[in-house]
């Protein structure tokens, strides 16, 4: 148990250290501040969650109940909003990956000097107001899409690009892309095989990260959906809060937990892969 070992180690170090040793004292001081920062951060993030959970688990009289959670699926429009959000998330992830993965790999391989420009360009969606993005997408979208909810996916793709690009960029920087591609091709592999069998498997964590970030973004985005008059999950939550505040908060809480679970799942996947390597090592 790491948590149990670290404090005792600190205690041993502290007890072994002569009093008045300036350097050791500063380390202890630094660790004390680390603890304070950790606690403050935890309070900052966990307190609102606790408040939301507490609110969702209470009725109007302050009694503990799970009624808000059990009532979710029966609420008018909830399943439709959830279904729409999931569909939009799937389409957004697909379009984002199809656009960003080949582009990022191509730039890394052929025009690495353009990566600086790419970094700057992909930051633009974060700085541009949503209303500008909406108008831009509307102006350039084919007519048949303007009346489709999938219009939102195109807008979400713009929003998701910075996150997806950064995940992939980090993944590509972690491997020797050029050498792997050349090794694969010298062995007779064509571009598709090289991508499918060599590059993408080594970008698995980066791809999963890009997809989960895109998913989290779609499940949490309110402004664009609201302005485009589509009832996605976040819009439904806001609308529902006016009539059933407890259910609305319960859904918000579950939405957050769902995203967390996905992120934990990603971490677990990496750990499992690491264990697999270790098992092979021990076996041989």
């Amino acid at each position: 148990m790491v948590v149990a070992v670290v404090p005792s180690t600190i205690a041993e170090e502290a007890s072994a250290q002569p009093k008045g040793a300036g350097r050791r004292f500063s380390w202890r001081k630094l660790r004390w501040w680390r603890g304070v920062v950790l606690v403050l951060t935890a309070v900052f993030f966990l307190l609102p969650l606790y408040a939301a959970l507490r609110f969702a688990l209470e009725d109007n009289l302050g009694h503990l109940t799970t009624a808000a959670f059990t009532a979710i699926v029966h609420e008018t429009g909830f399943l439709g909003a959830l279904y729409l959000s999931l569909r939009l998330a799937a389409v957004t992830m697909a379009i984002t990956l199809v656009l960003v993965v080949p582009t990022t790999i191509y730039v890394h391989l052929r025009y690495p000097r353009l990566l600086v420009a790419f970094d700057a360009i992909t930051l633009l969606p974060i700085g541009i107001p949503p209303i500008v993005l909406i108008i831009g997408v509307l102006q350039s979208t084919p007519f048949f899409l303007k009346s489709s909810p999938y219009l939102l996916s195109l807008e979400y793709v713009v929003l998701a690009t910075p996150f997806a690009y950064r995940s992939l960029d980090a993944g590509l920087r972690a491997i020797d892309l050029k050498t792997l591609v050349e090794a694969s091709r010298s062995l007779g592999s064509r571009w598709f095989s090289t991508m499918w069998r060599v590059i993408l498997p080594n970008l698995r964590a980066a791809l999963a990260s890009a997809m989960i970030l895109s998913l989290a973004l779609v499940l949490g985005e309110f402004t664009m959906a609201s302005l485009d008059l589509y009832t996605t999950l976040p819009v439904w939550i806001v609308n529902a809060s006016a009539r059933t505040a407890h259910v609305s908060v319960a859904v918000s809480f579950l939405s957050l937990v769902l995203t967390w679970l996905l992120l934990f799942g990603l971490s677990a996947l990496d750990r499992r892969q690491f264990r697999k390597f270790r098992v092979v090592d021990e076996e041989t």
């Binding site: 062995l187 060599v198 080594n202």
Partner: protein, 415 residues
């Protein structure tokens, strides 16, 4: 300690018998011709009219300082770089427009290039998989190849679980698995420590000799090149200075650049005379194109074994160090000024030569080459380059900077 077992001849042939003919025996390697290759990167000429013919089954090394174009030449041959002009001909066919995956050339890279998502067995079998070889046969042949490079016990390990030497051996097995027409080795040993490097190069040479695969080996390490090559191609500024067998390169360098780049070489001040050059009080002949004019002050290139220590206790030289190399001891002598030279003396005679004592040096060669002006070349700027007798590696020269351009990593212009 890495196991360096090399499979016996039968095992080697069995491992690569898939497409080499039904008899399982080794076939002749391919003939390769590089014809008048030019390649520019911006204003830099990486290849400047490179023309080279490589014989079937030959191991030829491209040797030269950083930026001389050797890696670019290899990449052009592999198909990863397109030349601005010129031809790449393999077995009589111009492969200039053939993509890398269709050239049938196995390549081992300087950096570890194993696919991280595959274990050693799958890495070796990857090329076979791309050729549609069925799983069972693929695994059998990959296992044979891993056994051939002494790594059968590491078949299930991933790249990060293997040492650098093991990774390069897997990469070698992977390149050989496809039974390439030409094997390309791009400084495959440069990231390894000295001991593993020597072991692996011997293994490469052993396998290449048995398989008779035409092999091009790029290196900046002259010891590597001279020790395993049938012929060595010394390159400079995108051009070939000389192509020959190692012994000829050493004994009869075509140019002053080759003379200084290959083996240990002293630069000793001299003066051109009507019939040759006067150096260390003796007149000797001049060979090579560089001649000079009578009375011109020059620097003369003399190998350590072409110098002799005359009288001890008098003379203009001062012994500043001795290095024992078995039968031969290399004595460092400081001449007038700051010119330090190295002289090979039999160890028995060297016993009488102590550091600090004055000695007289004599040139015993009949002919010498005149050095290029120091500012023009990429070779060492010291009084001597090289090291141990018989192992002409760059070495320490007292009072002189180490010749970094001969030991630095090749600045691949195309990267």
């Amino acid at each position: 300690m890495e196991a360096m077992a090399i499979g016996n001849e039968t095992g080697v042939h069995a491992a690569v018998s898939g497409t080499r003919g039904q008899d399982g025996g080794p076939s002749e390697g391919a003939t390769v011709q590089l014809v008048d290759l030019h390649r520019h990167f911006g204003h830099t000429r990486a290849l400047d009219g490179l023309t080279l013919a490589i014989r079937p089954g030959e191991l030829i090394s491209l040797l030269g300082p950083s930026g001389c174009g050797k890696t670019t030449a290899l990449r052009v041959l592999a198909g990863f770089e397109a030349p601005d002009s010129g031809q790449v001909i393999v077995d009589g066919n111009d492969v200039g427009h053939v993509p890398p995956q269709s050239r049938d050339m196995g390549m081992v890279f300087q950096s570890y290039s194993l696919f991280p998502n595959m274990n050693a067995l799958d890495n070796v079998g990857f090329g076979l998989r791309m050729r549609g070889v069925k799983t069972k046969e693929r695994r059998r042949r990959a296992s044979d190849l891993l056994e051939m490079v002494g790594l059968s016990k590491e078949a299930k390990k991933y790249a990060h679980q293997l040492s650098g030497g093991q990774q390069q051996r897997v990469a070698l097995a992977r390149a050989l698995a496809i039974e390439p027409r030409v094997l390309l080795l791009d400084e495959p040993l440069s990231a390894l420590d000295a001991k593993v490097r020597i072991q692996l190069r011997e293994q490469i040479r052993g396998l290449q000799t048995r398989l008779q695969t035409t092999t091009v080996f790029v290196t900046h390490d002259q010891e590597e090149a001279l020790s395993i090559s049938d012929r060595v191609c010394v390159m400079r500024s995108g051009r070939i200075e000389q192509v020959d067998v190692p012994s000829v390169l050493y004994a009869n360098p075509a140019t002053a650049f080759v003379a200084e780049f290959v083996g240990t070489m002293n630069r000793i001040p001299g003066k051109v005379t009507a019939s040759g050059v006067s150096v260390l009080g003796r007149e000797v002949g001049i060979r090579g194109e560089r001649r000079g004019t009578s009375g011109q002050a020059v620097e003369v290139l003399v190998r350590p074994e072409e110098l002799a220590v005359g009288a001890v206790g008098r003379g203009a030289g001062v012994v500043i160090g001795k290095t024992f190399y078995g039968a031969v001891t290399r004595v460092a002598v400081l001449l007038d000024g700051d010119s330090a030279v190295q002289v090979d003396v039999s160890t028995a005679d060297a016993a009488a030569i102590d550091p600090g004592s004055a000695v007289e040096l004599t040139v015993i060669a009949r002919e010498v080459m005149l050095a290029e002006p120091r500012s023009s070349g990429g070779t060492a700027a010291g009084g001597a380059t090289g090291s141990a007798p018989g192992t002409p590696t760059p070495g320490f020269v007292p009072g002189e900077p180490f010749p970094a351009d001969r030991n630095g990593v090749d600045d691949d212009l195309s990267k």
